[in-house]
Amino acid sequence: MAFEREALPWIDDVYRFALSLTRDESDADDVVQDTYLRAYRSWHTYLPGSDCRRWLFTICRNVFLRSRERARPTVELEATDADAAAGGVVYATAVREGLEDMFSRLDLGPAINDALTRIPEPFRSTLIIVDVEDQSYEAAAELLGVPIGTVRSRLFRGRRLMQEQLLDYAKDAGFNIRPALVEQRRNA
């Protein structure tokens, strides 16, 4: 059967994508199941020979967003290109705090996962698709069902929000205190 031949082989990729979106294995399980059920029921809308993986990812993303809407209302924030320039303020703050190299110097994996849960939609999904999953603007626009310009503006806002959170985390954890300064204070 065409569904078995074309859709089922992508279950590994769909699971990994669902895990990227949910950051939770149990939630990812539910999303994958719902994705394939919806895919099966709407199989007549799929164009044979087209990009089935991307088609499934689109369904997966919509399933995920519906589950989030049920759990928490979506915060609609108007993202503008001013956020792009505002990213310069975050960087300047990082430099003043001695954290301009925090992403290369520190293991921020757990902090990134935590920060992602606090980023409101629609910025969170966009960050995951582009920054985590390394998809292009074009692929993200298709997955999200929005124009490329919207992807761009959401990324500017989302990246600024992420970096602000991670900067606060690094400061709270004391990572802005350089080892040399620690030694100096110890010897004082």
Binding site: I11, Y40, L155
Partner: protein
């Protein structure tokens, strides 16, 4: 702590700040890219900003779930749910 863009970013660099991500996301036209690269060579502030964003991007990519096989129970759940919906392989 700088609170405004004008306090934190030199005026000549505001547009460059906006273009750095266009560049990293492969959204910049070739003539804009040439001008940007020239500025990055000459401006340590913007070169540092670019480095910061490249490192951020690498950190974000590092949390990507590793490719692999979905847990066996996922496949079982999916096939059971599909069977209930009438799917017959």
């Amino acid at each position: 702590m700088p609170e405004t863009i004008s306090e934190a970013v030199p005026a000549a660099c505001v547009e460059v700040i906006r273009q750095v991500w266009d560049h990293l996301d492969d959204q910049l036209h070739s003539d804009e890219l040439s001008a940007l690269r020239l500025h990055l060579v000459e401006c340590p502030h913007c070169a540092g900003f670019e480095r910061f964003q490249i490192d951020y991007r690498d950190a974000m990519r590092s949390i990507r779930p590793r490719p692999g096989v979905a847990p066996w129970h996922i496949r079982a759940r999916v096939l059971d749910a599909l069977a209930d919906a009438g799917f017959c392989p």
